[in-house]
């Protein structure tokens, strides 16, 4: 036991003396996780950021002015009025994600085209090809505004609306009178009658309503049990889990290669010349690594809790997962030392394996973005279980029982790595 404790103590002193290792293990995951957290929506209480668009208003009609006002009022959009050249330059340079160009005469033409009696006017949409998703979103919001404003004009009884309806009716009367045209004429005649009705008492100054979306939505984010509720999601919880797992595995690589350095420098032989078994030497190295990994995980998450208000829903669940992942890290390091030939070659291979594991585990991108077969394949890496487990005990609000499978899977991986490493070390001896 004296030898075991002395070996663990030695590793802890060496780790604390190595400022580079400390920096990599603590500061880097916190910095990168913070960045990813901000990138993926931050604390979750606030909405997403508005889409920057340019608006080129070439029409002076009331209809177009109302559409422009509606777009500006939409909190999902950050609208900057520009002329066409400025808009084209802004989108081309990436300063604006899209530009809406409302052409001259749009207000009158849109009313005439509503019932299909006239040619449809075109609204220009300029967009950044690197942001194709923005085009659909802007189209959707523009459609909503145009339909509301134009239909309001048509049904609201304003003079412009009635004139447009009468122009549409005359255009229909000039067409061959087939069944469709007759039916449409009936609708338009009804609209004109509706427009002619006086505004009711108590509605002075009010406009008759136009077309509106026939529903509203009630948004509720569902994040696990209990009171996790709508504010439960916190992008920092996932980013800190992902980056924590990644950088702790990097620490495991350093631990493995340090054993290879010890073998190369003769220190390992000297340790074996002492009256200490191989199991004690390996166990001590694994224990110190597991301890360091556990403390680092706790420090990283403590930062997330204090600064970004990440909520640990189950402390026993979190501690259990952190301990299990610390054991995975320790056994991974010993495995590297067992199978590595030189520190340099082993580090390269282990880095590749680690990056693959953290990518499949969903540390960089949420794993639900992966194809179904890849999501299944990801179950074969311990990082997937670790990250999903940390997500579960943080923003998903799960308890210890819910993460027992994740803990069990990680212990299985730790055992597998340890058995392979000991087998290899014994074979070498």
């Amino acid at each position: 036991m004296t030898a075991f404790l002395a070996l663990v103590r030695k590793d802890l002193i060496l780790f604390l003396h190595d400022r580079r290792a400390l920096l990599i293990s603590l500061a880097l995951p916190i910095i990168i996780a913070s960045f990813f957290g901000f990138l993926f929506g931050g604390g979750g209480a606030k909405g997403g950021s508005a889409i920057d668009i340019a608006l080129v208003l070439q029409d002076t009609s009331k209809t177009s002015a109302a559409i422009a006002a509606g777009l500006k009022a939409d909190s999902s959009l950050a609208v900057a009025p520009m002329n066409i050249d400025e808009a084209r330059a802004a989108v081309g340079s990436g300063k604006r994600k899209a530009a809406i160009v409302i052409p001259a005469g749009f207000g009158a033409a849109a009313g005439d085209a509503l019932f299909g009696g006239a040619a449809k006017p075109e609204i220009g949409l300029l967009y950044d090809p690197s942001q194709p998703a923005v085009l659909s979103m802007v189209k959707g919001m523009l459609t909503q505004q145009v339909m509301q404003v134009v239909s309001s004009e048509m049904f609201g009884g304003a003079a412009g609306g009635r004139e447009a309806s009468e122009r549409s009716l005359r255009a229909l009367e000039a067409r061959p009178q087939d069944a469709d045209t007759v039916a449409l004429r009936g609708v338009l005649e009804s609209v004109i009658k509706y427009q002619a009705l006086p505004v009711k008492e108590g509605e002075a100054g009010a406009k008759k309503a136009g077309l509106t979306t026939p529903f509203t939505t009630r948004d509720e984010s569902v994040s696990g049990k209990g009171d996790a509720g709508p504010a439960g999601y916190n992008a920092f919880a996932h980013s800190f889990a992902g980056m924590g797992v990644q950088f702790i595995l990097f620490m495991g690589i350093e631990m493995g290669t340090s054993l290879l350095h010890a073998r190369r420098s003769g220190v390992w032989s000297r340790l074996q010349a002492a009256p200490v078994s191989l199991s004690t030497l390996l166990l001590a190295r694994a224990a110190s690594s597991a301890l360091i990994a556990f403390v680092i995980l706790c420090v990283i998450f403590a930062f997330a809790v204090l600064v970004f208000h990440v909520r640990i829903a189950s402390l026993p669940g979190f501690v259990g997962l952190a301990l299990c992942f610390a054991l995975v890290t320790a056994s991974f390091g010993v495995l590297i030392a067992a199978f590595g030939k030189t520190p340099e070659a082993a580090r390269g291979l282990a880095l590749f394996a680690t990056l693959m594991m953290v990518m499949l585990g969903g540390a960089w991108l949420p794993s639900f973005l992966f194809p179904a077969w890849l999501q299944q394949a990801a179950l074969a890496v311990p990082t997937k279980w670790a990250i999903d487990g940390f997500d579960a005990v943080t923003w998903r609000g799960m308890d210890l029982a819910a993460v027992l499978p994740a803990m069990g899977a990680q212990l299985g991986f730790a055992l597998l790595f340890a058995v392979l490493a000991v087998w290899r070390f014994r074979k070498m001896a």
């Binding site: 004296t2 060496l14 420098s265 220190v267 032989s269 009256p275």
Partner: protein, 310 residues
Amino acid sequence: MLLEASNLAKAYGARRAVDGVSFQLRAGQTLGLIGPNGAGKSTTVGMLCGLLAPDAGSVRVRGRQVGPGANEAKRCIGLVPQDLALYEDLPAFENLMLFGALYGVPRALRRERAARVLEQVNLQERARDRPSTFSGGMKRRLNIGAALMHAPELLVLDEPTVGVDPQSRNAIFDILERLKGEGCALVYTSHYMEEVERLADQIVVIDGGKVLADDTPAGLQRRLPSQAALRVELAGEPDPVMLDGLRAMAGVTTLQQTGLQLKIGLAQATDALPVMSWLERSGCRALGFATARTRLEDIFLHLTGRSLRD
């Protein structure tokens, strides 16, 4: 008997690195283990310290079998490896504490021992410093100190002075001579013959994995036809007739000519004077004479040959 190595054999594939090596060492004595590169010294040291299991034969220390896992026997042995087997970023004191703990030295005694060992190796002022900041000689001394923490009866030193300056080498020798004086037995391997000559009570010469000689330094010297050598620096080319006469002289065992230098092997050191008188009488114009006792290096080369070993 403190150490008994009997018929040790170890092969790596088809190559027999050690083949039937045997020797013994008494407590407090020093054994010099010498041999050219690839002779089997490091493999023998590995088996002496329990790092390697012999294919055949055995090593016993105080009657206990040595080998991987033989912890009681390992406690009697201190290993000073050829490599600087230290934690470079762990302070010197902590390095010593660690190696003391590995041998089961109790904590209180460990602190006391570490302080004493640091004094023994003249590093007490650098106790809190990391070996990475030490000179080569200081690291070598700490490397020895780490093997002394459990006060072993037998210290095995595998080329402990490689790459150090003469001052550091001298300091290391002072440490080893003090240890010897305190009754610690040493097994010492080195390429530096003068080091082995200075320390060893017994010398084992191995080559090709076999023991070529196992004797005291004086005993080894007696195996050579020449006990001393006389070097003569000539003023001009020597007369061949004179050289033949010199070869035939009583007490002259060998004669080598290199340019204007003669190296005359002598059966006894006392034969030097008659030979010098004879040379003078023979009209040999000598610029200078130098006599030297036969060195261990001569014995080594005599036993192992002069061909290069790579």
